[in-house]
């Protein structure tokens, strides 16, 4: 059971039912659950969309797109059925928040999915969980069955005459399937290869029908937005960045864990106060602010508010909420190598810049970390990564290139310290050199 943490600065909205037994439907109802969907049933679809728009809720899956805006792109009339697809593939290294939502508050995901369905006129929702989350899938399946038994799902939800069905789905191991179009391919029983856009899923998605794809945390937030009211929810955050979000603190931090903090919360404070500072009395070397694909920040760059716009202005991204803290005993070249090793492994191989680019980056970095780097390699690594940017079929190529460029640019000296046969200055006693195969 993952450890739950808490800190006085937290504003618990999405996490308010964590640790309260809310996977049980009665308990969920006792804690105010399923009231928001009832409220929505008495309103028009436009009211729901406008409420979510006004809340400034932005996607928690990584890109931070306005949720209400996304919903408004779905055509009102459609000859094909419309769908809601909840993205619970959660595979971006550093990210473990949806894990807690499925574990502690699965009905919030169900309720949010129904509300999304009412907003866009969809009658079916799919909740897709990564294959590794089997124990969580079982919890969600039980919750769905309980909701059916109460008449909250089915042909006549809450006695309203409206129909809504939920189908749960397991993946079977693939990071790329978290990308929205690859996710639809996987759900259609195919290899998780991305689709060309446009058309966007809101117009042509699952089975060719208009589809809303949202991250599990985004969807679980929706009932709270409705309950709190758009204005009050938006107020919790910063301009254009409504509410709170779950931040997953990991790495060399004293008190790792998932904390819910207002959007715009200062990163330095998050690390030193909420997370208790750097573990083992070491010094901070670097922070990856939003999952492994986001460009690294140096210690002098972390005095920033954690919302999509401010982190963007600082040259990185808020991403999926995974804050990875790195201490001064860590080799950045090794860290870069392990990061690129992941993207090389997960590249679906469909497009050449991503498949070959990640492979070459991994080969160069492996050689480099082993002490066989040449001075020219440093620029070559950067050049290669820069040439992947924007040239791949889906953003996985960017996700590999962006952090690599930042590692080289911001920690060039560490790369230079590995040149011409020098052993890694951070080599640890008894730990073999990392070679990612």
């Amino acid at each position: 059971m993952p450890r739950l943490v808490s800190h006085p600065d937290e504003v618990k909205i999405v996490s308010r039912r964590f640790g309260q037994g809310a996977a049980n439907i009665d308990r969920y109802i006792e804690l105010g659950g399923y009231e928001s969907v009832k409220k929505c049933l008495a309103q028009t679809p436009d009211w729901i969309v406008n409420e979510v728009k006004a809340s400034n809720l932005r996607g928690r899956g990584g890109a931070g797109f306005s949720t209400g805006m996304k919903w408004s792109f779905v055509p009102k009339q459609s000859p094909k059925p419309k769908y809601i697809l909840v993205n619970g593939d959660e595979s971006e290294p550093g990210t473990c928040k949806d894990h807690l939502i499925f574990l502690h508050d699965p009905h919030a995901v169900i309720e949010g999915t129904i509300i999304a369905g009412l907003a866009v006129g969809a009658k079916t929702g799919f909740i897709y969980l990564r294959g590794e989350y089997r124990y969580l899938l079982e919890i969600v399946e039980k919750a769905v069955a309980d909701a059916y038994a109460r008449g909250f799902l089915g042909k006549n939800i809450f006695g309203s005459g409206t129909e809504f069905e939920i189908v749960t789905q397991t993946g079977a191991g693939a990071y790329e399937v978290g990308e929205e179009s690859a996710l639809m391919e996987s759900l259609e029983g195919k290899r998780g290869i991305p689709r060309i856009k446009p058309p966007f899923p809101a117009v042509v998605g699952l089975y060719g029908g208009p589809t809303v794809i949202n991250n599990a945390e985004t969807i679980a937030t929706v009932p709270h937005v409705i309950a709190t009211g758009a204005a009050a929810y938006a107020e919790l955050g910063t301009p254009r960045n409504g509410g709170t979000r779950l931040f997953c603190l990991s790495g060399h931090i004293q008190r790792p864990g998932v904390y819910e903090l207002p959007m715009g919360y200062n990163l330095k404070k998050m690390i030193y106060e909420v997370g208790g500072g750097i573990a083992n009395g070491n010094q901070l070397k670097a922070v990856v602010p939003g999952g492994s694909s986001t460009p690294v920040l140096r210690p002098e760059e972390i005095d920033i508010g954690m919302d999509f716009d401010q982190v963007g202005k600082a040259g990185s991204m808020l991403g999926s909420g995974g804050v990875v803290v790195i201490d001064d005993h860590t080799c950045i070249v090794e860290f870069a190598l392990r990061t690129i090793g992941f993207y090389q492994h997960e590249s679906c191989g469909w497009c050449i810049p991503c498949r070959e680019g990640t492979d070459w980056l991994q080969k160069s970095l492996t050689r480099f970390h082993a002490g066989f780097g040449k001075a020219a390699d440093i620029d070559n690594i950067q050049y290669l990564a820069e040439n992947m940017l924007g040239r791949t079929f889906c953003p996985l190529g960017d996700a590999a290139a962006m952090p690599t460029i930042a590692f080289v640019k911001k920690f060039r000296k560490e790369f230079e310290d590995h040149l011409s046969g020098k052993p890694c200055p951070f080599a640890r006693e008894g730990v073999p050199q990392l070679t990612v195969a």
């Binding site: 993952p2 739950l4 059925p81 990210t95 392990r338 992941f342 730990v431």
Partner: protein, 187 residues
């Protein structure tokens, strides 16, 4: 349709598959879950499993293999009864995942991606399993174990040996029990 392929799945799994295919607008959507559930029961995607799933969904075996080969959890060879998956991705690496992975290799006396001769354990290095704030983390089949240290390894293995009814000369599951207690406190 040969009698062999018909007998591959238990009646319960066969019934589950019948229900599964009716969940979606197209039958084929059941493919990925079917492959994983079949693997859970049979241990791996044998030729017979592929053939039966293809038949049930009206797909060619080639098509099924093409999809199956994409997903990292699906395998075409048996693994150990307990498949130990050690995450070595960044957050786990920073908190000692490679040391943990080494200790598993030592304790099991097998190399990376090896299987013990008795078939009880297999060992793999995997990418992020979504337990980053509780690193380093592993999965044994579908069970998570988090906030581990190399010293807890022997106890974890002893517990699984006991679960499998394998006699063990180790009585050192104390560390693991302490860990379990601690986790319970925070639940």
């Amino acid at each position: 349709m040969s009698p062999e392929t018909l007998s591959i799945f238990s009646p319960a799994l066969a019934a589950r598959f019948d229900a599964l295919v009716s969940n979606y607008p197209v039958k084929r959507s059941a493919l990925v879950p079917m492959l994983l559930y079949a693997q859970d029961e049979v241990g791996y995607l044998s030729d017979g499993v592929i053939a039966e799933i293809a038949r049930r969904l009206g797909l060619t075996e080639l098509d099924v293999r093409n999809v199956a080969s994409y997903y990292s959890m699906l395998r075409f060879k048996p693994a150990g009864r307990y498949n130990i998956q050690v995450c070595t991705n960044i957050c786990c690496m920073l908190r000692g995942a490679y040391e943990l992975y080494d200790r598993f290799q030592e304790e099991l006396n097998i190399g990376p991606h090896g299987t013990t001769p008795d078939g009880l354990f297999s060992l793999e290095e995997v990418e992020c399993i979504g337990a980053c704030s509780w690193a380093p983390a592993i999965q044994v089949n579908y069970s998570f174990h988090d906030e581990l240290t190399p010293d807890l390894v022997a106890g974890i293995l002893a517990d699984y040996r006991a679960q499998a009814g394998v006699p063990t000369d180790r009585s050192s599951s104390v560390g693991w029990k302490a860990q379990a207690e601690r986790t319970k406190e925070h639940a």
